[in-house]
């Protein structure tokens, strides 16, 4: 167990090293950070002096070594734009993103398991077919489009006048399909509760939750159908297995057969995929946060790219790399708990 965790720590360090090299290698193509930092009237000589002071004129290797030396001591450099340590800027934006990812994960877990299991148990029922159809649509629509459609329907509102207003049923149908559109779609709202340090939560107040709903739903919109289909496919395979037949032959209730014998085996591959997907979701927040102006890491990262804020970009990429390693480690720990045939060791499998 300890050996396993140490090995994962080494992974994290390796990942951070590789990411930092890659991020540094692309910085020359991101534009001139000095241009973003000073006004137009600043003469070239002063710009050059600033470049010299920031060390931008040094060679790639010297710049990287200087960065790496400081990074090992926990100093990832100052953001050009915010003029404060990049790590602090990220720490300020991290809770918003993690809350968004958490809410989306919650939506995915709460909906994918029951829907996936139901459509595996009753694959031919009309409801299952409906879910399968919707899930195909959900997978194929990009997140930002889903987000815009959600905003149109639930924030701006839709007034349907398709049916004749003069008839009773037409008026009713028009009202049924029209939406009021009072859901907030911008930022985190005014009613945040401070939990600890710089972590303000959306989860404690009604206003906060309302602001969270649309971004979380649109972030979940890609992964949810994926998981529904994955759980369904795995469950259908498990239901064909000998041990499920045997469980039925023992005369235990179908509820137990489905939810203890079958579901536990179904979840093994789902947990593995889920771990990778949570990391991917952190990356997807760039789109969602931009559409909803959610003040998290994704939005911050996009701004950093626009401003060629290289220290912030590099630090963000490294932090996301660490999040990947951490979630995968947690998932492997959970997997070890659920699957008795797995023993966690430091040795390569």
């Amino acid at each position: 167990m300890i050996a396993f965790l140490i090995k994962r720590l080494m992974h994290a360090i390796l990942v951070m090293f590789v990411i930092s090299v890659l991020a540094f290698a692309i910085q020359d193509n991101l534009g001139d950070p000095v241009q973003q930092m000073v006004g137009q009237s600043v003469p070239e000589s002063e710009r050059e002096a600033l470049r010299e002071r920031l060390g931008l004129n040094d060679s790639f290797l010297i710049q990287y070594v200087r960065f790496a030396k400081n990074a090992v001591q926990g100093d990832f450099g100052d953001s050009y734009f915010y003029r404060e340590p990049a790590l602090e800027v990220i720490a300020r934006h991290l809770p918003a993103t993690l809350e968004l990812v958490f809410a989306a994960t919650l939506i995915i877990v709460l909906f994918s398991v029951p829907i996936g299991v139901y459509s595996a148990i009753k694959p031919r029922s009309p409801i299952s077919r409906l879910f399968m159809g919707i899930s195909i649509i959900g997978i194929s629509i990009p997140v930002f489009l889903t987000a815009i459609v959600l905003i149109q329907i639930f924030s701006i509102g839709v007034t349907v006048t398709l049916f004749p207003e003069s008839t009773g049923w037409g008026a009713w149908l028009n009202a049924f399909f029209s939406t009021e559109g009072n859901m907030p779609s911008f930022g985190r709202g005014y009613d945040l509760v401070n939990v600890v340090g710089n972590w303000d939560t959306n989860l404690a107040t009604w206003n906060g939750l309302q602001h969270l709903v649309l971004p979380a739903v649109s972030l979940a919109s890609i992964m949810l159908p994926l998981f529904i289909r994955l759980i369904r496919a795995e469950m259908m395979e498990v239901l064909q297995s000998e041990y499920v037949k045997y469980a039925r032959a023992k005369g235990i209730s179908m509820r137990r057969v489905y939810f203890v014998h079958a579901l536990k085996n179904t979840m093994l591959p789902v947990i593995t995929v889920g771990g990778v997907q949570i990391g991917t979701m952190v990356a997807y927040t760039i789109l969602t946060e931009t559409v909803f102006q959610w003040p998290g890491m994704g939005l911050m990262f996009l701004d950093a790219i626009n401003r060629a804020d290289i220290p912030l970009i590099v630090t963000y990429l490294m932090i996301v790399g660490v999040i990947f390693v951490v979630t995968n480690t947690i998932v492997d720990l959970i997997y070890g708990l659920v699957n008795p045939t797995v023993k966690l060791t430091g040795k390569p499998a």
Binding site: Y243, K250, R256
Partner: protein, 338 residues
């Protein structure tokens, strides 16, 4: 009335191309404590027969006709709820491959206790005690530790012992064993079979033994069925069938045993292979492989290729074969004339 009575059982699989007849017109009975063997090649319908007794055949299979009557109740007309009370409780099953039968993510103890708790109102502690007792009966070394182990920690032989223990958990009236030793190492096959028979004898449990091992059937069962392409083609007391098989297929099976071959010669075999159930030959399903299709005059018997043979009584046995029917008819005519 016998403990278990199967009458004209008919099982079909609803496929896109139409229904496939997996079992036709199966009838047999089993008395308390009796041992019945069902033999046949792979694909003859032995396992389907075993599963359909407890109405456990998976979709698209279904029981299209006939009855399975156990202790006065018609099982194939019972609700799932009612059937659940019989399954694992009064009639339990042993599956073929012990490596696949136990759930890999549940401990042995959990898989035993859940079965007990499904049928009796007892505490987990009591259930564990019963489970431990059964594990001792199947002679597993250090049974207490097994309860907390998972299937992957045990060998195939040990797993099959555990499955036998689970089959005995609720002191059933009948155990249906579907090729219980086929997947095991040859060296422990005999051991497991002996254990199973011993325990059935001790507890006066009826046994339906499905196998393709004629040797085992001849040694341990009192009566047997020989199946071919979804039908029973010969049934009766085991000793009579083994000593004097009537049906050409049964004769072929017995001749195919290695001990029936002349040393140094090739082993005997039945030529050809089992037809697909969706594309059965006309008449007697066995006729393309039958060596006795020709009559004494050298002409093939037309009935064999055109008519499905009915059962005829021959001694204590029933045989579905035109040739046998003809022989019996000849013999009867001779008796009448003389």
């Amino acid at each position: 009335m016998a403990l278990l009575e199967v009458n004209n059982l008919d099982v079909r699989f609803a496929l896109r191309q139409g229904d496939v007849h997996a079992l036709r017109d199966i009838s047999f009975s089993l008395e308390r404590g009796e041992r019945l063997g069902i033999v046949g090649e792979s694909g003859a319908g032995k396992s389907v027969a075993a599963f359909s007794l407890l109405n456990l055949i998976a979709k698209p299979g279904f029981i299209a006709g006939g009855t399975v009557t156990f202790d006065g109740q018609v099982l194939n007309r019972m609700s799932e709820r009612g059937l659940r009370k019989v399954r694992g409780n009064r009639v339990s099953m042993i599956f073929q491959d012990p490596m696949m039968t136990l759930n890999p993510v549940l401990s042995i103890g959990e898989q035993m206790v859940e079965c007990l708790k499904a049928h009796r109102r007892i505490s987990s502690k009591e259930a564990r005690a019963i489970a431990l007792d059964k594990l001792q009966q199947v002679q597993i070394p250090s049974p207490e530790t097994r309860l907390d182990q998972y299937p992957h920690e045990l060998s195939g032989g040990m797993r099959q012992r555990i499955i036998i223990a689970i089959a005995l958990l609720l002191d059933p009236d009948i155990i249906i064993a579907d090729e219980p030793t086929t997947a095991l190492d040859v060296t422990i096959q005999a051991e497991i079979m002996a254990l199973l028979l011993d325990l059935c004898e001790q507890h006066n449990v009826g046994l339906i033994l499905i196998t393709h091992d004629l040797g085992v059937v001849s040694q341990v069962t009192q009566r047997m069925l020989v199946m071919y392409a979804g039908r029973v083609i010969e049934q009766g007391p085991t000793r009579e069938i083994i000593n004097d098989p009537q049906h050409p297929y049964t004769q072929g099976l017995i001749n195919a045993l290695p001990q029936m071959a002349t040393p140094g010669e090739k082993l005997n075999q039945i030529r050809g292979s089992m037809p697909s159930l969706s594309n059965l030959p006309s008449g007697c399903a066995f006729h393309p492989r039958c060596d006795f299709i020709n009559r004494a005059d050298g002409q093939p018997r037309p009935a064999c290729t055109q008519q499905v043979p009915e059962f005829v009584e021959s001694g204590n046995c029933r045989v579905a074969c035109h040739m046998v029917a003809e022989l019996l008819e000849d013999r009867r005519l001779k008796e009448v004339t003389s």
